[in-house]
């Protein structure tokens, strides 16, 4: 249960490749922000790109890719809670008759 499996060492070329990808994606986010695709689509695309960048950081920089399955399962729980914490208040606010100030 505490066997010290040889830590998988991620080599610098992988790190540099990931960093370059992140730079490119940042430029893409800024560029996409220039085009107006309607209120809902803008935010979803921005969040999608940001989530993709975030997963790159998590998988490679934080070595999540090489961690045990247990940690993968454990990460799901806070992510689900985060979605609930964001989704339910929005559902409530959207359907209110008069938002805040009628």
């Amino acid at each position: 249960m505490k066997n010290e499996h040889k830590e998988h060492i991620v080599t610098p070329p992988v790190y540099i490749a990931v960093a370059l990808a992140l730079y490119v994606l940042t430029v893409v986010t800024v560029w996409v922000a220039g085009i107006d695709l309607g209120k809902v689509l803008n935010t979803t695309i921005a969040l999608l790109i940001a989530s993709f960048k975030a997963s790159l950081v998590a998988l490679f920089f934080m070595h999540l890719k090489y961690e045990s399955k247990l940690l993968w399962f454990m990460i799901l729980i806070p992510l689900i809670l985060l979605v609930i914490l964001l989704a339910l208040p929005i559902i409530d606010v959207i359907n209110r008759a008069g938002y805040f100030g009628m």
Partner: protein, 214 residues
Amino acid sequence: MEQVLKSHHEVEEKHAGLEGAKMGMWLFLFTELLLFGGLFAAYAVFHTVYSKDFEIAHHHLDRVIGFINTLVLITSSLTMALAVWSAQTNRRGLLNLFLFLTILLGTTFLVVKLAVEWPVKFAEGLYPGGKEFNHLLQEGHKGQAIFFSLYFMLTGLHGLHVLVGVIVLLGILFLALRNTFSSEYYGPVEVSGLYWHLVDLIWIYLFPLFYLIK
């Protein structure tokens, strides 16, 4: 961290070892996620209600500074990852260099934010309680006032976390300079690396949500 207690023939871990430390840090990062989650929930609710005001208000923010800050933080994540690599492969010189670079980039991020971006807002009085802020409220642009409150709360809390990260990394650099880390024992470097990457990860979300709203 690892006082190994040898009795009879069994090797006992007095503590949970590297595996345990990493799991402990991941659990702590979950709490950070949910801490920022509460603020992102407030952002989401106010963005849904005041989307037009948010769009107007975000023009006050300088997109170029935001972009530069994002690149700075991504590079600092790169140098942090390389620092962990050099600790794992016993390259002590490189470890000290990359740690120093990460701290330098982190401080640059803080300097750009606190010395360049925020004073502009304070000068314009766009902070909660400021002249322009109250003027916005009187004119009924509540959404814009809320935007700036959110901006200062989120970037402020994030900045605080960057500051804590820099202080922790200074501690690690201090230990690294005294050769405490090697390929046998690099736990603290990896764990503080995890924390630093999370701080960068949160900024990756903050940048589009504040600087690029349409």
